[in-house]
């Protein structure tokens, strides 16, 4: 059963140097507060996993937390490149970054396989792309019935998965709604998990379209109001589009980036 603990304690307990860590949430409910706590605690050598690494991974990479990135699309949505990510790949600043690139469908299938206890997933993706030449975790598999060649991708079982949600009750049951991504799959696939929430309530009420992550599937829950800023938490906060635009200038320059992180995160 999940315990409800302060965010700093949760990150200290769950995230260790060298871990594989997935922070999920698609446009909506991105766990920025938890990412910032990982930066403050100075975690190193992380393998970061995320379908759409955006600003929070730019920050983690720029602050030297990551050794490797497993992803399917990287960018500042609607704005442009992630300059810290680009600097790490092109110039090894502040340290080299290994990348493992997949398709979105491939990443979803990898989480589903991990959550299902399967060693791999099968899909028709990747055909006609160059990804298999560059990614060791894209391999062919032959159908034993038809002889057809398909793609097999290995299960993802992160050491830690972290997601943000609207609410939890005091027993650690988590409720989230609006645009959902692979939060459920990422949590179920992980060895340990942390959910940050806008609000801790006595009782979760019925809510159309909401999904519930049960307490027994989660390690820790932390109260982190506005914890998805500059992304948003439907019903609580709105997306700070201006910040995404502003990030382009902040992140282009190493010194400007470092100064911003010192002032706002560290």
């Amino acid at each position: 059963m999940a315990r409800v603990v302060p965010l700093a304690d949760a990150v200290a307990e769950l995230v260790r140097d060298g871990d594989s860590v997935a922070l999920e949430g698609f446009t909506h409910l991105i766990p920025f507060a938890a990412g910032h706590e990982i930066i403050r605690q100075g975690r190193r050598d992380l393998t970061l996993i995320r379908m759409t690494p955006d600003l929070v991974y730019d920050q983690l990479i720029g602050m030297g937390c990551a050794r490797k990135l497993v992803f399917s699309w990287g960018g500042n949505p609607g704005v442009g490149s992630l300059h810290r990510f680009r600097d790490a790949v092109q110039n090894s600043w502040p340290r080299p970054l290994e990348i493992e690139e997949h398709s979105h469908a491939g990443m979803v299938n990898r989480y589903v396989a991990g959550a299902s206890g399967l060693p791999f997933a099968v899909l028709r993706g990747y055909a006609g792309t160059g990804l298999a030449e560059h990614t060791e975790t894209v391999k062919p598999i032959t159908c034993p019935f038809t002889g057809e060649e398909l793609t097999a991708v290995p299960a993802l079982n992160p050491d830690v998965s972290i997601v943000h949600a609207q609410r939890a009750d005091r027993r650690g049951n988590v409720q989230l709604w609006g645009i959902t991504g692979v939060q459920k799959e990422a949590v179920l696939a992980a060895r340990r998990s942390l959910v940050t929430v806008e609000e801790v309530v006595d009782e979760l009420d019925d809510r159309r379209g909401a999904i519930v992550l049960p307490s027994w599937a989660i390690s820790l829950v932390s109260h982190a109001p506005r914890g998805s800023h500059p992304s948003y938490s439907l019903g609580y906060t709105v997306r700070d589009n201006d910040f995404y635009v502003a990030w382009d200038a902040i992140s282009r320059d190493r010194d400007a980036f470092t100064a911003w992180m010192r002032e706002h995160v560290l």
Binding site: G117, L118, P119, F120, A121, V122, L123, R124, T137, K139, P140, I141, C143, P144, F145, T146, E148, L150, A152, P154, A155, R208, G209
Partner: protein, 287 residues
């Protein structure tokens, strides 16, 4: 004789209020079937079975069907009418009566072929067909005699570490028949009970899909969005059939009619009683 590709092209046209849309009768659904086809039936055991559609198939001239089902009286009735060449199922049961009597008789008399999978393997077979994949891996089945009684099954090794898992072939079907609590004329279907079963996978796995329902409504607003189980893009026909799952369970509209189910099972044990019971279906009006 499975049709993996979808050919129906009438998925999305808006239907004016009062228009017929995809609404048809159970007899018209049955008339689209051809002998030798593979037919999937939704529901689970003796729960939310499209019995009005199944009875219409029983009244039609088709034979030699392969029936794919989490089996209940749908399978039993089709067996009793001699419509079945092969059953593909993880079980065939009436729930409160463990063994489906007609299915049992058909098996004991050796008049049907049977492909048996574990429930989980069966689900992966539906997923494989729904996703148009030639197989999907599953750990279910390993270490059981399901592998021995299905010599056509195969295993594959993970390209990552070599773990051996079962390769489940797709359970594709020409036609799927499912029963919903509500549907609209465009073919969207809604369940209001406690369990969707695998009906969404059946309609995706099928070349053509027909949805019977307790009531055709203009707006499917009696439950939250996740109760909108069946999308019109997978549906070719809608049949309004109040009581159309009876005697099986169709919560919350009605529960299983245990007395009617007992009467069915009792009649199955005696040829004369069965002849009388069958007459009610033979002469049964559309319901």
């Amino acid at each position: 004789m499975t049709a993996p590709g979808r050919t129906a092209g009438t998925g999305g046209e808006p239907v004016a209020a009062g228009g017929a849309g995809k609404v048809m009768t159970a007899a018209e659904v049955a008339a689209t079937l051809e002998s030798g086809m593979t037919v999937g039936v939704g529901g689970w055991g003796s729960r939310r079975k499209p019995m009005a559609l199944v009875e219409a198939v029983c009244r039609s001239p088709v034979t030699d069907l392969t029936v794919i089902s989490y089996g209940g009286p749908d399978v039993g009735l089709l067996c009793a009418y001699g419509k079945v060449r092969r059953v593909v199922a993880p079980f065939v049961t009436l729930d409160s009566i463990p063994l489906e009597p007609h299915f049992r008789a058909a098996r004991q008399n050796g008049v049907i072929e049977f492909t048996e999978y574990d429930e989980g393997m069966f689900m992966f077979g539906l997923y494989a067909a729904a996703h148009n994949l030639p197989f999907l891996p599953t750990p279910a089945g390993l270490g059981s005699d399901v592998m021995a009684v299905n010599p056509g099954l195969a295993t594959v090794r993970s390209p990552y570490g070599g773990q051996e898992v079962v390769a489940m072939p797709p359970l594709g079907m020409d036609v799927a028949l499912v029963h919903m609590n509500r549907a609209d004329r465009r073919g969207n279907g809604q369940y209001l009970g406690p369990d969707p079963y695998l009906d969404d996978l059946f309609v995706k796995a099928a070349g053509r899909a027909y949805v019977s329902c307790e009531r055709v409504v203009d707006v499917l607003d009696e439950g939250p969005p996740q109760t909108l189980l069946i999308s019109r893009m997978h549906v070719d026909g809608v049949v309004e059939a109040p009581g159309g799952a009876g005697f099986t369970d169709c919560a919350p509209d009605y529960g299983r009619d245990e007395a009617a189910q007992r009467a069915y099972a009792t009649a199955a044990a005696d040829p004369e009683a069965w002849a009388a019971y069958r007459k009610t279906i033979d002469e049964g009006a559309e319901r």
